[in-house]
Symmetry: C2
Subunit: 242 residues, 2 copies
């Protein structure tokens, strides 16, 4: 029985994500299908029982905490990047982190469940998580209650526009080196391409080429990725293992 | 910046629901379309701004706290009523309240937004809320990210079976009296029928008639509803204003 107005929530698991920094993370779940993450539980008996049968579902809800760089406090009005960063909206009409309670919600694909001596890992795809995100709850995605195809929104009507991605010769060679040092090498190229194609640049820069020599960078897994935008495309210019 | 492992969440609003008691509440959102609820915010300037533009969306996510009778602590294994109450499952493979953090999640239809001197009300339909439920967050339902028609589950594949509902002469007369005392009279009959037709009886009683003279009762809005089950139907036998 909870009687107080404040509720104390516990971290039940932690997310190991392919995105170690805030810049460049997709703005919704499901946009980058190859974005991998692990929901990491301590290998206790309770946790082992609590995840039983979870593979009966293809998709899961992850209820998480916007932490560190992702949460800058409650703002009643926000300017969603998706709308160009100029239109002001009430925060409850957006999925912005600047909510009274820093709770995030993402639907992801459940790939597999793995057990090690010390950890239980739910391996998922399609997440929009910052690495080290604290998890509050995992729920099965129940299609008959959660999937509402007739739902409509005046905003955010579709996935973001896609910027074509090309690779410089140098970056392709670097990618081969980086991929050879990783477990899931085969998906690194796809992951970088899908992520950069969402055009994570600030709203006022989107839809136009960068200035000569201007580049952007983000961390993807164990690499630092840099790209330029010109001729309406993104060119990956370096992929350096960090 | 949040550094501790515990997160303190605040009640941002409270739900005024047509279900004042736990027994009989639909087991998922969306099952009883005429189930009405108001998400009640204090009429502060911040709240007024924060709900701006929310009517751009047809549906909302309500992130709430399972409170009072709904939360009886964390149980790693639960027996979902939907599966007859006999099959044991890990709690993360269910939407049971017995989770480590008592967080509930329901998608509802947004009907209207109303402002009074002291309150801001989001009037919603299709909820599965206990009256007085504390709300932690409201998010827009974003179809392209949240609606996943291809998602599958081995359990909970469809809405619950429906028990036909009939009315005794007495109960119909009582309904007329009860409806005349309520604001949204026209929906009371529909609400009672939809709710009872989900057959809220304990799992071991479902699918069979009650014993002679046996009845069940639940509160719906301001009424106490009683019914019997025989011949494969539910007969409403009384609707008494409380």
């Amino acid at each position: 029985m909870i009687e107080t107005k404040d509720f104390s929530m516990q971290r039940i698991a932690t997310i190991r994500s392919c995105y170690p920094q805030r810049f460049g993370i997709p703005r919704q779940a499901g946009l980058v299908k190859s974005a991998t993450a692990s929901i990491v539980f301590e290998a206790t008996r309770d946790n082992e029982l609590a995840v039983r049968d979870i593979e009966s579902f293809t998709h899961l809800w992850i209820v998480f905490v916007f932490h560190n760089q992702k949460y800058t406090g409650f703002k009643p009005l926000v300017q969603p990047p998706r709308l160009g960063g100029k239109k002001t909206m009430g925060v409850f009409a957006t999925r912005s982190p600047n909510r009274p309670n820093p709770i995030g919600l993402s639907a992801v694909l459940l790939d597999s469940v793995e057990f090690t001596d010390s950890e239980i890992l739910l391996k998922v795809k399609g997440g929009d998580f910052l690495d080290d995100t604290p998890v509050l709850d995992i729920k099965p995605y129940v299609p008959f209650a959660d999937s509402i195809p007739q739902a409509k929104s005046e905003w955010a009507v579709s996935a973001e526009p896609v910027l074509p991605v090309i690779w410089s010769d140098t970056s392709l060679k670097q990618l081969a080196v980086a991929a050879s040092q990783a477990d899931d090498a085969e998906t690194l190229k796809e992951l970088i391409e899908e992520t950069v194609s969402l055009d994570p640049r600030p709203a006022h820069e989107r839809g136009q080429d960068g200035k000569p020599g201007q580049s952007w960078g983000m961390r993807v897994r164990h690499t630092d990725v840099k790209w330029q935008v010109y001729g309406g495309s993104a060119e990956i210019i370096s992929v350096v293992v960090v």
